[in-house]
């Protein structure tokens, strides 16, 4: 299958290893990966902060960048959620009928990574090897906007050598929330503190999730505490093999 990767702005600029791992994984499963060159960002930060009108050119650019793609995969539950559930509203409110139709087309062909692997490719064992104690945080948008459910866990359970431990109160938000982390920094930090307590209590050495944004938040806190627990995107664990480990 020819897969168009939407790498996301955050992964492109700050976490390129997540993008590389997604490419490695999809190619190892026998697929061709393309990276449409016009892509930038889905515009979610603008929409969620109250700037849907300003997000319009970003949304339009995204739709044009992926107009030719048959299937679009992104290593982010939150960005996939925005494309599937917010773009139509932005187009309706601020755009035109042509854009409404175009965002609908792109949204229908867009998958978050774990959904794509389990639902479209029908695989749960991707041949990964990762001999570490890991705990998984289900990110809010992957869980409640996309409804990925157990899919990421099914993929992780099939990883050879992994010691997967359950995260207490896993489904509670980590406090990131995009600009919420800045506008309500104190509340965000209080939520982060509880999430870190839960992570540290598991004894896991690696925290994983399907969104680099949430991992940037929890990982930023774990780093500040010099906790020694590192964060890895789900794609990085799934891309690891006995020959080529993550980081």
């Amino acid at each position: 299958m020819r897969i168009a990767l939407f790498v996301t702005c955050l992964v492109d600029g700050l976490f390129p290893d997540v993008g590389k791992a997604t490419v490695t994984l999809l190619e190892r499963l026998g697929h061709e990966v393309v990276v449409p060159p016009r892509q930038t960002c889905c515009g979610q930060m603008h929409v969620n902060t109250g700037y849907a009108a300003q997000a319009l050119p970003v949304v339009r650019n995204h739709v044009e960048a992926f107009a030719q793609a048959d299937v679009i995969v992104t290593p982010s539950g939150s960005c996939a959620g925005s494309i599937r559930h917010q773009h139509a509203g932005v187009a309706r409110e601020h755009g035109d009928a042509g854009l409404v139709a175009a965002v609908g087309e792109v949204a229908r062909r867009t998958y978050e990574l774990s959904e794509f692997l389990v639902d479209v490719l029908g695989v749960t064992d991707v041949g990964a090897y990762f001999p570490h104690r890991v705990t998984y945080h289900p990110t809010c948008h992957s869980l409640r906007v996309l409804g990925v459910g157990e899919k990421p866990l099914r993929l992780l359970r099939a990883v050879r050598g992994i010691d997967l431990v359950e995260l207490p109160a896993a489904e509670t938000c980590c406090g990131f929330g995009g600009t919420f982390a800045l506008k309500n920094a104190d509340t965000s930090t209080a939520m982060l503190a509880d999430k870190m307590t839960a992570v540290l209590g598991t004894g896991a050495r690696v925290l994983t999730a399907g969104d680099s944004s949430c991992l940037m938040h929890i990982g930023g806190g774990l780093s500040r505490l010099r906790s020694g627990v590192r964060t890895l995107h789900l794609a990085e664990i799934l891309a690891s093999t006995a020959e080529v480990g993550a980081r």
Partner: protein
């Protein structure tokens, strides 16, 4: 936009920015413990009784559909309701806003000559600031719901829709009763039974001597003119049946079309709010009993303005169950006072700004991480996260040009073209210097310092993903 011209409601917004109010609450260890314990207990109870019903999803859809049907023809249903009330001998009053509603009730109360009224717990009367208006007229309003009584005796404000004293522990309540409750045992213990018994004997005297009661209503049946109060303590039943004058303050969105529609809501409400299959007391009355005078005050106070907004009107489906408060990770940590409005929590963050206009407290729609739990647990499927986003847009439109809007505009310019975006990322690489010592960034200047006070940022990579992709 049509809704801009509609009259907004007034009342009971402190206007303190949420982040400021939240900061004080977050530092209160006792409050944090009380809230965490209370909300986690009630969350677990709710989850277990909701899971029992195989048709919860259908009930929820029915609840939403019934409320939407009422809201779509609210004018017709209201007139039908009024006619049914009048036919049964109730006097109906219409109030445009909080001030008018409070004045109507105060006039009715003072006309009876009483100096005291007893009250059934009611969000509508809190919203219109009724107790304060009555006090100004020399009338003491006595709250008879135990938690409301605790709040009242403490000269405090409610912090939760269902459990207004959720922020108080039992030792605090004992001290409060000893200090403020007339005739209380000075050696009162903090045993919950003893506390309840103290309140009970204090209130029993009021029930038998005060002759005017004020209630709200959980539901109002348009066809029959029936009012419904759902409660747990029996205080409501006392207030509704003993005094000779009963005044009920009802928001115009409380209507359901027919008696049969109650079957849906009387399943949804107790399971969502107290986590019970059924609440202990459901009082249902149609018109006054013999010898009783009854009044209904129908309150708009911004509801029509809310109804005029297609993206916001679903907030009027709310049945005040508080499931969203109990489930919200923000509410659990800040408590209700931080929201500075009668309606706290996620529903407050969408309802209050709509009733009064977003400019009265523009920080409220931002008081959420948009995690979506509130939508999942809402028994009438109000999509609170989408509504928050919609209201945030209203806030930015109201504020016009700010430093933030300039930054957002500029960022959108970079993000709407791959070449510009790439230039931006390459220039961001210069920030690598900030992380050169520890391979992470620990300090950034304002406004990004809000991030680095508690979290590190990774050092920008030498090579972006795109640069790597093109060289492979």
């Amino acid at each position: 936009m049509t809704f801009l011209g509609m009259p907004r409601g007034t009342g009971n917004l402190t206007g303190t920015p949420f982040p400021t109010a939240a900061r004080a609450a977050l530092g209160d260890a006792q409050l944090r413990r009380n809230l965490a314990k209370a909300t986690s207990t009630i969350r677990a109870k709710r989850a277990s009784v909701v899971a029992e019903l195989p048709d919860w999803a259908e009930l929820r859809a029915a609840g939403a559909a019934i409320k939407d049907a009422v809201l779509a023809d609210l004018d017709t249903f209201l007139l039908r309701f009024e006619a049914a009330l009048v036919e049964r001998g109730t006097t109906v009053h219409w109030a445009r806003d909080a001030t008018e509603a409070s004045r109507i009730v105060t006039d009715l109360v003072t006309a009876t000559g009483t100096r005291e009224v007893i009250k059934v717990k009611s969000m509508a009367t809190a919203e219109i600031g009724l107790n304060e208006a009555l006090a100004d007229a020399g009338v003491t309003a006595i709250e008879t719901d135990l938690a409301e009584l605790i709040v009242q005796l403490g000269h405090d404000r409610p912090s939760h829709i269902l459990v207004p004293a959720i922020h108080r522990g039992r030792a605090e309540i004992r001290d409060l009763f000893r200090r403020e409750m007339p005739g209380v045992d000075p050696d009162l213990s903090d045993d919950p039974r003893a506390l309840a018994e103290a309140a009970r004997s204090y209130l029993r005297h009021k029930f038998t001597t005060v002759d005017v009661a004020i209630s709200g209503a959980n539901f109002a049946v348009a066809d029959t003119g029936t009012l419904v109060v759902v409660e747990s303590e029996g205080n409501g039943r006392m207030c509704l049946t003993l005094p000779r004058t009963l005044i009920s303050v009802v928001g115009i969105e409380k209507l359901v079309p027919t008696w049969q529609d109650l079957e849906v809501f009387l399943q949804l409400l107790p399971r969502s709010s107290t986590g019970e299959r059924m609440n202990p007391y459901t009082s249902v009355w149609t018109g006054p009993t013999e010898g009783q005078t009854s009044h209904v005050v129908l309150v708009d106070n911004g509801r029509t303005a809310t109804l005029a907004d297609p993206d916001g009107r679903a907030a009027l489906r709310c049945i005040r169950c508080s499931a969203c408060l109990n489930s919200c990770p923000v509410y659990e940590r800040t408590g209700g006072h931080a929201y500075g409005s009668t309606y706290p929590g996620p529903i407050g963050a969408v309802l209050s700004p709509q009733l009064t206009g977003v400019d009265r407290n523009p920080t409220l729609p931002y008081a959420s991480s948009l995690c979506g739990v509130c939508y999942d647990v809402c028994p009438v499927a109000i999509d609170i996260p989408s509504m928050l986003v919609h209201l945030r847009e209203r806030v930015t439109q109201t504020k016009g040009r700010t430093a933030e809007s300039a930054a957002m505009r500029s960022l959108a310019w970079f993000m709407s073209d791959a070449k510009r975006w790439r230039r931006l990322l390459r220039s961001a690489r210069s920030a690598r210097v900030l992380g050169r010592r520890h391979d992470r960034i620990g300090h950034l200047p304002p406004p990004l310092s809000a991030w680095t006070t508690a979290r590190d940022l990774p050092r920008p990579p030498r090579q972006t993903f795109r640069d790597w992709w093109e060289t492979r």
